[in-house]
């Protein structure tokens, strides 16, 4: 595999994984927080 691709994978895969997981958790946290408000309305 080309060196630049290898280095790119070593940097981008972990970075995107970390951010992706964090935003996924945040999305589900906000959905849980929104739910009681919608039910009252």
């Amino acid at each position: 595999m080309h060196k630049a691709v290898e280095i790119g994978l070593l940097v981008l895969l972990p970075l995107l994984w970390g951010l992706g997981v964090e935003y996924a958790f945040e999305f589900f946290r906000r959905r849980r927080a929104d739910k009681p408000g919608r039910e009252q309305a």
Binding site: L10, P14, G18, E22
Partner: protein, 294 residues
């Protein structure tokens, strides 16, 4: 894939064992990342060598790549919680990246000069010094008599103000020197730098505990980015190690961040110090056993 040929053969024979061991290690480190603001590489690097027999250079490179992923999500979370002093991150990260480049070159040079076995013992010794110093600095009471941090009292201009942290007259060269020194250790030992940045930001810069957690994550992020590129360019990092660690830490970081917002500052510091001493003990045992075997 990168670095697979350096992984010990028993892990090749049991790939499921490799993945499970890495994921469990990642889970534990993830909790510590969210709780203490450390990237986790200071645990991962020696544990990969001591527990799994992975060579130090491969362990260092892989753990820096892992730290990049581990700290990115945690940093995003602490940014939202308002725990990050951006100006401090920018200055420290810039100097830490320069230090990391120097440290990585020093790592290669020392390995060439001493040979692998002696180099491993040397790395164990350096880890012990770093970890015990960090534990001591975090454990003891932080506030100096004058109420000013070391960088506020350092008589080296120019001086800056960090509004987010309400810190005035911080010596800018002092701050850069701190970042550079920690960056050198990052590149040399394959640690993210958080284990050093946490006590440094508490005692030398003067941030609060919760600001320290978020800010140190930011600096760790950039230092480990530089380290991952440098070690990756040498072929000394493996996604076979990095990705299972990350999968385990994904859950751990959320647990750790939640705990951080609920614990008192003094407790966070004391638990961090105890953790660091525990890791130092494991390394010390391995160092002594290797010396006795020789």
């Amino acid at each position: 894939m990168i670095g697979l040929d350096q992984i010990p053969s028993y892990l090749h024979d049991w790939p499921a064992l490799l993945v499970a061991a890495m994921a469990l290690m990642g889970l534990v480190v993830g909790v510590l990342t969210g709780l203490f603001g450390v990237g986790g590489a200071f645990l991962i690097t020696p544990m990969l060598n001591v527990l799994l027999g992975i060579p130090y250079t491969l362990a260092a490179g892989s753990s820096l790549s892992f730290t990049l992923g581990n700290s990115s999500g945690a940093w995003a979370r602490h940014m939202r919680l308002g725990n990050v002093a951006i100006k401090t991150v920018t200055i420290l990260a810039g100097s830490a990246v320069c230090g990391t480049i120097l440290g990585a070159d020093l790592h290669v040079h020392l390995k060439t000069v001493f040979g692998v076995q002696t180099f491993t013992l040397l790395m164990h010794g350096m880890f012990l010094i770093v970890l015990l110093t960090s534990a001591y600095l975090v454990w003891r009471p932080s506030a100096p008599a004058s109420g000013l941090s070391l960088l506020q009292r350092l008589p080296v201009p120019p001086r800056i103000t960090i509004r987010a942290a309400r810190l005035r007259n911080i010596s800018l060269p002092g701050l850069c020197a701190v970042g550079l020194a920690v960056g050198v250790l990052t590149g040399l030992l394959g640690i993210g730098g958080g284990v050093l940045f946490v006590p440094v930001m508490l005692l030398v810069v003067g941030l609060t505990v919760h600001q320290t957690v978020g800010t140190s994550l930011g600096v760790v992020l950039f230092g480990s980015l530089a380290g991952a590129i440098l070690y990756g360019a040498k072929g000394e990092a493996s996604l076979w190690i990095v990705m299972p660690l990350l999968i385990g830490s994904s859950v751990g970081v959320q647990i750790g961040s939640w705990l951080c917002s609920r614990l008192h500052a003094i407790r966070i510091r004391r638990y961090f110090a105890l953790l660091v001493v525990g890791v130092a003990a494991v390394i010390a045992i391995d160092l002594v056993s290797k010396l006795l075997a020789d």
